[in-house]
């Protein structure tokens, strides 16, 4: 590998990579992301490798996440440009024979959304993709994350060459400032301002850090970027180092992401070989390298000051906010910390300019945002949308609405620090400031959709308990305040709530928000406060009527068999682990005797409802009292 030192050389090398890539007339891109691998992509990869048997004309890519996890494993065949979904190893020979060799489309493997009877072949046509605009994720399905040449074939490291060889650090900085790039890690802090602050902070050394701790439970954006396109993050960080005057770099990766770690470490190695990291990068005179540090599974370590402590090898406890990390961060030296997605945006801004970036999204929140759209939504997956798109568009057009045609109840953005929004907020645009105003926040990109079968009090309790677990325990408001809130929430969901609990929750929440030390505490009451704000009636139903509208809270529900739908097949009786289900003598149905659940024995494990082929198992709330049930049963018998 020759050392690249001029723009020309980089360009020529990119051309070379492109020619090498173009040599393959056919491309098979198999999504090898975490979700697809969990449902069989690994076996598929083996099947493809066997079927292709070293075939020279086909480039087989094990790519990062394509996004449409719902119907995985996904396979894209180019130049036919068709998307095959739910592919099984047994389909592989047919794909090779028909689609690759003859260029035919295999109808059976195309995407068919539930309900409307349509068939989609191409990526652009599938509604899930049609409304997205991919910048950061654009290359995910096109490149092999383990190949730097693939990345360069699509212009990779061109922005780095441009920045280091044609622009001064000030110009790069100005470009980022003009682009109004805001931090994608949660707070939405202006990245340009942060960079400027760090650059002008006094000190010998400046640290450039990438936050890949992704602590939000239920979100996997950063993982997918690191796994699918690790070089874009490296490129962004080196450009950042150029603009800021960074001397060394770190990436702090969550321990739960061994796959992302592997992809990124490999990318670092390649970048070093190509001279994009190390000494005298591209003969610009800058030395810079990135070290990998693994987290230990602690949400609070995503917070900047805690992250620095953890990097130093200590316990990840945050410190008071008045100390600015740009001046005194890692080892008390100037430090610039940005999120994975923030860094991944940088090369695009340098390549295409601030003006282009501002043309996407809204005035105050330009660009795109990656979300992991999960929960009770029809199309679960990883999406990238322009800022300013409404929640409704995201959930109903991209997400395809609620699973099984049920009714929408709430959407939680911002993870444990964010809030729940209701039906009436669906027209809100996705924008840092608008969401904060509504009592939620953008967060790092988790978007959890809840339907009528979700209990908001239960979810608020879930987040509060999560945060208690994760609170470092250093400051009192967060440690004790959350504990009390949780106690009240538990009481409410157990049917022991009292009317005054609402007031207590609100007061405690406000106190924790004001008095806590770090961002974890100050945002911790958000799920509770926002759900009280928009779903007060659900709380009141729990407290006053002992009723759980989502039919989730175990103390407030009971299971029954609908005598009119039960066919007497007895499947439920077989799976019941506590033998609470018995036949009713004399009640003949199509397939046997009607069954009944003995409420005194049933411990509400849900096993019967899962298996009932007739959906005859009903969940009632408020729970039907035991005495009442006894009367009924004896009467029937």
């Amino acid at each position: 590998m020759p050392k690249l030192g001029t723009i020309e050389q980089v360009k020529r090398f990119q051309e070379k990579c492109k020619t090498a890539l173009d040599k393959f007339p056919l491309v098979v891109s198999l999504c090898h992301g975490t979700a697809c691998c969990a449902i069989g992509a690994k076996e598929l990869a083996a099947a493809f490798e066997e079927a292709l048997n070293g075939e020279k004309s086909v480039k087989f890519i094990k790519s990062g996440c394509h996004g449409f996890c719902e119907v995985g494993p996904l396979v894209v065949v180019r130049p036919l440009d068709v998307v095959y979904q739910r592919v099984k190893p047994s389909d592989v020979p047919e794909i090779v024979e028909r689609s690759l060799k003859k260029g035919e489309v295999i109808d059976r493997l195309l995407y068919r959304p539930r309900g409307n009877g349509k068939v989609y072949a191409k990526e652009e046509e599938i509604p899930f993709y049609a409304k997205q605009s991919k910048v950061v994720l654009a290359l995910n399905s096109r490149i092999d994350p383990y190949s730097i040449d693939d990345y360069m074939a699509y212009g990779g490291y061109g922005a780095l060459a441009k920045a280091l060889l044609e622009m001064t650090p000030d110009e790069v900085l100005q470009e980022i400032v003009d682009a109004r790039l805001r931090g994608r890690g949660g707070g939405g802090f202006d990245a340009g301002r942060k960079w400027k602050g760090c650059r002008s902070a006094p000190g010998e050394r400046r640290h450039i850090i990438c936050n890949a701790d992704e602590g939000d439970p239920g979100a996997f954006m950063d993982e997918s970027i690191l796994e699918g396109n690790p070089h874009s993050v490296i490129e962004g960080m080196v450009i950042g180092a150029w603009a800021i005057g960074g001397t060394d770099g770190f990436i702090y990766v969550r321990n739960e992401y061994p796959r992302a770690l592997r992809a990124f470490s490999n990318a670092l190695k390649q970048a070093r070989e190509y001279g994009f990291l190390g000494e005298n990068i591209l003969s610009s005179g800058m030395d810079f390298d990135i070290k990998v540090s693994r987290g230990g599974g602690a949400f609070v370590c995503g917070e900047s000051s805690a992250l620095f402590r953890s990097l130093e090898g200590d316990v990840g406890e945050p410190r008071a906010k008045y100390i600015h990390s740009v001046e005194r961060g890692y080892h008390d030296e100037p430090t610039n910390l940005n999120n994975v997605e923030t860094w991944a945006n940088v090369p695009h801004i340098i390549n295409r300019g601030a003006k282009w970036f501002r043309s996407l999204g809204t005035e105050d929140s330009p660009g795109t945002k990656v979300f992991s759209l999960v929960g009770k939504v029809e199309n679960t997956g990883l999406i990238e949308v322009p800022m300013g798109i409404t929640l409704k568009e995201v959930i109903f057009e991209i997400g395809g609405g609620i699973k099984e045609g049920r009714d929408f109840k709430a959407v939680q953005t911002g993870g444990p620090s964010g809030g729940m929004l209701s039906q009436s907020q669906l027209d809100l645009p996705v924008d840092f400031d608008v969401l904060t105003e509504a009592g939620s926040m953008m967060g790092s990109g988790g978007m959890i959709v809840m339907d009528e079968g979700t209990c908001v009090v239960d979810v608020a309790k879930y987040f509060t308990d999560f945060l208690i677990e994760e609170s470092c325990g250093k400051c009192l408001p967060c440690r004790e305040g959350l504990m009390h809130m949780s106690r009240i929430l538990h009481r409410i969901t157990e049917g022991q709530g009292e009317p005054k609990d609402m007031e207590s929750l609100k007061r405690l929440g406000d106190a924790v928000a004001v008095a806590s030390l770090c961002g974890l505490g100050t945002s911790a009451p958000n799920p509770v406060l926002s759900s009280i704000k928009y779903f007060e009636d659900e709380y009141l139903a729990h407290i006053n009527e002992r009723r759980c509208p989502g039919r989730v809270c175990r103390a407030l529900i009971s299971y029954h068999i609908d005598p009119d739908t039960c066919t007497g097949c007895g499947t439920c009786e077989k799976v019941c682990p506590v033998e609470a289900i018995q036949p009713v003598a004399g009640e003949e149905r199509e397939e046997g005797l009607l069954r009944i659940i003995d409420l005194a024995v049933c411990d509400k494990c849900d096993a019967c409802r899962e298996v009932c082929p007739e959906e005859a198992i009903l969940v009632e709330s408020p729970a039907i009292a035991l005495e009442h049930y006894r009367e009924n049963v004896t009467e029937k018998r």
Partner: protein, 138 residues
């Protein structure tokens, strides 16, 4: 410490002594770190490592039902190893595969769309295998 944890699946006291001596760091600090981060375990772990995703997406899809099932029915509780040394249950937050939640990872193998019934079946199978093995060894 991460390396030790990975090798032995837990942090034996001897190893912590050694780390303390070698790095010249006092033991209370070592323990502070070992108890702060979730990846570290101060007890030996079971033969089968179960990890249940309690991320938000899995939670709204019913992960709690499975957690309850494991603890009520099988005496397997979060963060604990069963007395017979067969199972250790860990709680993890989002494995990046929310589309197929709830997820139970059994010895590194992702099992998606988990239900109470399927969880029961998995546990029963592993228990049966263990008894058979014991019988074969006896």
């Amino acid at each position: 410490m991460l390396a030790v944890q990975e090798k032995f699946n837990w942090l034996p006291p001897q190893a912590l002594d050694y780390i303390s001596r070698r790095l010249n760091v006092r033991k209370p600090r070592i323990y502070h770190i070992a108890t702060f981060y979730k990846v570290f375990s101060l007890e030996p772990r079971g033969k089968h490592i179960l990890q249940l995703c309690m991320g938000t997406a899995c939670h709204v899809r019913g992960a709690k039902l499975i957690a309850d099932e494991l603890s009520r029915r099988h005496g397997i509780h979060f963060g604990e190893t069963t007395d017979d040394g067969l199972f250790t249950l860990e709680r993890v937050n989002c494995l990046g595969a929310c589309a197929i939640g709830p997820i139970l990872v059994v010895d590194g193998d992702y099992k998606g769309n988990m239900t109470t019934n399927r969880a029961n079946a998995v546990i029963k199978r592993l228990k049966r295998e263990a008894t058979e093995e014991d019988a074969a060894n006896a």
